[in-house]
Symmetry: C2
Subunit: 304 residues, 2 copies
Amino acid sequence: MSKGIYLSSPEHYEILIEKYDTWMFDCDGVLWHDDQLIEGAAEVLKILRTRNKAIVFVTNNATKSRKTYKRKFDGLGVEAYLGEIFGSAYASAVYISSVIKLSKSKKVYVIGMIGIEEELAEEGISCIGGTDPADRTVEPFSLSNFTLDPEVGAVLCGFDPFINYTKLSKAFQYLSRNPGCHFLATNTDSSFPADGGVLPGAGAISAPLRFALDKDPLVIGKPSITMLDCIKAKIDFDPKRSIMVGDRLNTDILFGQAGGLSTLLVLTGITSEKDITGPNASSIVPDFVTQSLGDLRAAERSSR
Amino acid sequence: MSKGIYLSSPEHYEILIEKYDTWMFDCDGVLWHDDQLIEGAAEVLKILRTRNKAIVFVTNNATKSRKTYKRKFDGLGVEAYLGEIFGSAYASAVYISSVIKLSKSKKVYVIGMIGIEEELAEEGISCIGGTDPADRTVEPFSLSNFTLDPEVGAVLCGFDPFINYTKLSKAFQYLSRNPGCHFLATNTDSSFPADGGVLPGAGAISAPLRFALDKDPLVIGKPSITMLDCIKAKIDFDPKRSIMVGDRLNTDILFGQAGGLSTLLVLTGITSEKDITGPNASSIVPDFVTQSLGDLRAAERSSR
């Protein structure tokens, strides 16, 4: 299996920056780990802005709204604008309002966090479930205490650490009993790096419904092209002169490739050297590989 | 798609009873619905016993131990013996002790109900998780409050209406971090008929782990041959002169076929006429079909 071009010299980085006008970035594992900025990442973003590059942040994390994300950038001292931030919660809300065109009298049953609720509210879409304390119960679910709301026209499933049988059973009822009810997932990352290890991700939260219904949700986040359609609707860019930077092969790199963008893999997140070389290497091959986004600072030295 | 032979006359039932020495029965949807005996079912079992047929009850329900099942039979006034009852919790415990031969110093992390705990205890196997109130929490899981128990050598997953992120995350840690930790599921029924509708089944409970680990569990219950191996170890029968009676094509009928038994589908449970006839009929075809187990009472009238 061939691997991507491993960048190393200042000239490499200079050519790369020269070549692309639009730079799309995954956030976690590329710009930061939790609340720890990756060394040099902020500086590289500054270099790109100085050179008039368009910047887009594309994250599958649906627990936070764009506004909350903006506060995270601010807190870390990284320049970012609301219009540059595309999260899977936002893209899901835009999809429901603009593509499905869900009637204003209808609602979305949410499995997920406040980020989804905030983005749906911004698009004027009503929702139930989500952070409602009534659904955060340890009691088993009983159909005799449940009233099917005929106005639920979609179930949107994202990461939810409060997942339980009540939430799953309610979603299952809507999807199996409300005619035409849409089954959507913000993203289906199988796992995510947490403090002290790895935990099951958003894909694990929608998996029970997938299995019980024998039906796949429409996935909004990376690598789905739906996320790119959402970006395209707001930002003008030429895929041939755009590059997606990410730490995951099966979301970020696949996403960039599906949209006809070039791709740069960084090794500061979930993917390691052994995932792209050797006999068990992934079949997903990025165009370029570098150790860390911070490496691109070398371009400045090259151009001085 | 050809369908099974639809039985209707007293002679049909007489021939059927004559032909088979060992009769294996699924319970829910065949003998009863919840706590309501299906008309004539008890009488048919009595006819079979009078004619010296061997009777075996094979259920995927892992929430109850065999002893609890026996009490259910007693409560409904149906003759049954502990040695005739094979549940997927029991078969899982036998599999762990006899096939895996899990060391007595090791433990099983259980996602499931008391039925699994009781059957594991009967086989002398230690377990954690299960009905432990500490795991029945609405709080999100944090790895910083978790200590990996290196003695957990298997995760056994059955139906659990108290499923939550804590249980899933603990199981995920054992399966991804304890070397050689076995991943087992009592059964993977996608759904089950409940009072007032259908709810997600045991397969939906193990689905998040399946997805997050990208690994399938070894399934013990029907249609797995592991369940039949468990029966074979305790009961002597000739598959050619044995018949499996059930209401589900993808568990009961498939199970009988995999074991070389003949199969009889009853339409008192999850499968309806349209699932076996017409253009969308299942590819799983039983040998015989009858409306209800109670129909076999007609054989008595034929032999009088």
